[in-house]
């Protein structure tokens, strides 16, 4: 079965995709509504916490960090597979990525934006957060460039801005199409503005190709560096369970993992909501699923490596933390993480499930849950069972404020994402055309050879 029909007329591609900007299915509006509602909850929580103090989140000494940081990492991780699809596969000339990389890239951008929020939410004095920015001021003070948190900020800023540029540059030809096809209203103005007067001349295409390639090359090491730096927030500290050498690769794998899972989820939603059945085809889904499975196994392996190395080492403290995770207060969540992260993906190994949309949808959600738990299980247990026994505290539980904020962040992400898909073509038209074109060419060539043989 083919990734895509070669004989789709280019004009039809334009129509279909542009249609998605006009009239999605009802479900779209329900999702949008739900997202806003969720976001509302988070806003309420934040207002409360802002006015009363961090205490209402029910953190304490030693639990200085809570779900905020965990969810922060989760969203950062989410962003990575966008880059995987759009940049790495681009370099690989895997053209099946073409119909789906656009929304993946958008996912990258928005999950980064979501992650950014958690920094603000977590900070005790968010109104002073600008102290952390390296800007010239009359105090003559600078942030502390030694702090992994600052590396984080830097890396994420770079990653976010680069991803946005990457997304935008890749979208210019499509914006031109929109400009040409849509005839009035604010959309027209918007597209005209953003298309920058693109006309698809040979010169434009030539530079476009090189630029796109270059940025892709930059994005790959960047993406890797971003999550290894997030990993160093923990790896650089002395806390048992954090001070682990295998953290950077572990985090990166985890990131790609959760990202791919998220892509499956969104793939399924978009496919239905925007009627993209012809472009986001099952064979493509199958490819992603296999990719996901592979990464899941990598993650499982790295997980095992981490536990093993802790277990084998003489670092008693880390060992205790590990035991705590598996047997202490957090045990249910920890085992849930193992289950969702390492057992559930085995489903994906079966052909019959690789294209079974309902199953995949459920699985992808479970995987995401697992990955969120993973982040939580990295952050929390170390606090409750650290180096200093007097400061142990096994039964501090995040308050509704924390949960509300986590919950709401999903609303925020969905909101941004859904609005984006409604305003911009979430399937790259020109690239689908290329895909179709090349494949048809290939086909012709094939036919020609056959005839030649006779």
């Amino acid at each position: 079965m083919k990734d895509i029909r070669e004989d789709i007329a280019w004009a039809k591609i334009n129509q279909d995709v542009l249609k998605s900007l006009e009239n999605p299915r009802k479900l779209y509006w329900w999702i949008l509504f739900g997202a806003i509602a969720m976001l509302g909850i988070a806003v309420g929580c934040e207002v409360y916490q802002y006015n009363v103090g961090m205490g209402v989140a029910n953190m304490d000494n030693p639990h200085m960090w809570g779900l905020y940081i965990a969810t922060f990492i989760f969203w950062i991780g989410m962003s990575h597979s966008g880059t995987l699809l759009s940049a790495i596969l681009h370099l690989m000339h895997a053209d099946w990525r073409k119909p789906i990389y656009r929304f993946a890239e958008a996912m990258t951008t928005f999950s980064l934006l979501t992650a950014g929020l958690f920094v603000a939410v977590h900070i005790g004095r968010v109104w002073q957060i600008y102290y952390a920015l390296p800007y010239p001021n009359d105090r003559g003070l600078w942030p502390n460039f030694q702090s992994p948190l600052l590396w984080d900020a830097m890396a994420i800023f770079t990653y976010l801005s680069s991803s946005i540029l990457f997304l935008y540059v890749g979208m210019i030809p499509d914006l031109a199409i929109c400009r040409d096809r849509i005839h009035a209203g604010w959309r027209k103005k918007l597209y005209t503005l953003l298309a920058l007067g693109w006309e698809g001349t040979d010169r434009q295409w030539r530079n476009f190709r090189v630029t796109y390639l270059t940025i892709a090359c930059f994005l790959i090491p960047l993406a890797v560096s971003v999550h290894s730096i997030v990993a160093s927030d923990f790896g650089m500290s002395q806390a048992p369970g954090w001070h682990v050498t295998s953290f950077p690769p572990y985090f990166v794998a985890g990131a790609l993992y959760s990202g791919c899972a998220a892509i499956i989820t969104l793939f399924i939603i978009l496919r239905y909501v925007f009627r993209f059945e012809e472009y986001m085809t099952l064979p493509i889904l199958k490819k992603i699923v296999r990719l996901t499975f592979a990464i899941a196994m990598v993650w499982t392996y790295l997980n095992a490596v981490e536990f093993a190395s802790v277990w084998y080492s003489h670092d008693e403290a880390s060992k205790d933390v590990l035991i705590q995770k598996a047997s202490g207060t957090y045990a249910p969540f920890w085992w849930a993480m193992i289950f969702c992260g390492s057992v559930v993906p085995l489903v994906l190994a079966f052909k019959r499930f690789q294209t079974n949309i309902p199953v995949l949808f459920a699985v992808s959600l479970l995987l995401n849950l697992g990955m969120w738990l993973e982040r939580w299980m990295i952050v929390a247990p170390t606090f409750s069972h650290g180096i200093y026994p007097w400061a142990w505290d096994h039964d501090q539980w995040p308050s509704f404020v924390q949960w509300g904020m986590v919950f709401g962040s999903f609303g925020w992400f969905t909101l941004l994402f859904m609005v984006f898909c409604k305003v911009f073509p979430s399937v790259s038209m020109y690239e689908v055309k290329e895909m179709v074109y090349h494949r048809s060419l290939h086909l012709k060539k094939g036919k020609a050879d056959e005839q030649g043989a006779h």
Binding site: G53, M64, H122, V126, W142, P143, S237
Partner: protein, 289 residues
């Protein structure tokens, strides 16, 4: 200009602490606590509340682990008390340990603060600048002793923390911390500052006995001694010397001696290399009974 400053003083900017050559000069504030005389009576802790404007958080917040005692008295039972092979009763009593910020020379909290709100001062203290703090709480996450306390609430405006009358007791030399900032033991910086000013006016450095920290001054058994480690006259200097505990070691030479040593000075979690400025003297127990 700072780039030229960078190039001129490159060697200094590259200099690390405390393992490098350069000592503190003229002050290195340090402490030593004799666990044999410490009776665990809590006087030091209360004195600290009085001196440093610590809020009383109340039962509920205490239950949430949000208490603010900069100086806490820990007590420990024998490892095997109440366990198999151990005694059912604490026949040897308890062991008390006053725990406060250890003012590490290579403090894990300092490097990780995103805004540089906590630094290593020239006097070898671990400074905490409240109004620079943005409350990322990374310092506490990375503190091995967990002696940093965070203002989870805005205590000045919380009921019954400082009713109108009690605000009059607040020490004007110490800021009252608002919500969202990290705080910790400062070795009574306000007292040190006052003493240094007096000394400077007279063109000399602070002498032994001229400045006492609140906990030390209160301690009924005189278990805490505090002073300038560089001053040969200082009791704390003598004690460190007598106990052969050296500031810039992560493993004391005396401990490598054959058959151990007859000295009881040690520093907590020394092997993690924070180079704490507080030396503890082991509790002694009679062997004849």
């Amino acid at each position: 200009m700072s780039v030229s400053n960078l190039l001129e003083n490159w060697s200094q900017f590259r200099h690390a602490h405390p393992v490098d050559d350069k000592p503190h000069d003229p002050y290195k504030w340090a402490m030593s606590i004799d666990l044999d005389t410490c009776s665990g009576c809590n006087a030091c802790s209360v004195a600290c509340y009085a001196e440093n404007n610590l809020p009383v958080v109340g039962k509920e917040k205490y239950a949430h682990g949000q208490v603010m005692h900069w100086m806490r008295i820990e007590h420990y039972w024998d490892e095997n008390l109440g366990e198999e092979g151990g005694s059912e009763f604490p026949d040897q009593g308890a062991q008390f340990l006053p725990m406060m910020c250890q003012q590490c020379e290579a403090a894990p909290c300092e490097t990780v603060c995103p805004v540089g709100a906590t630094n290593h001062t020239a006097d070898g203290l671990n400074s905490q600048i409240y109004n620079r703090c943005i409350g990322s709480r990374y310092c506490s996450a990375n503190c091995p002793y967990k002696v940093r306390y965070f203002n989870w609430y805005d205590y000045p405006s919380t009921d019954d923390v400082w009713p109108a009358e009690m605000t009059q007791q607040l020490n004007p030399d110490v800021t009252v911390r608002g919500k969202g900032v990290m705080e910790k033991c400062t070795f009574c910086i306000q007292r040190l500052h006052a003493a240094k000013v007096t000394a400077k006016n007279e063109g000399r450095i602070v002498r032994e006995g001229e400045v006492q920290v609140a906990c030390q001054q209160a301690c009924p058994t005189n278990a805490i001694s505090f002073g300038n480690l560089l001053d040969p006259e200082a009791r704390v200097h003598k004690q460190w010397k007598a106990q052969q505990v050296e500031l810039d070691k992560d493993k004391q030479l005396k401990d490598e001696k054959e058959g151990g040593t007859e000295l009881r000075g040690y520093r907590i979690l020394e092997s993690m290399r924070p180079y704490p400025s507080v030396m503890y003297l082991e509790r002694v127990r009679e062997s004849a009974i």
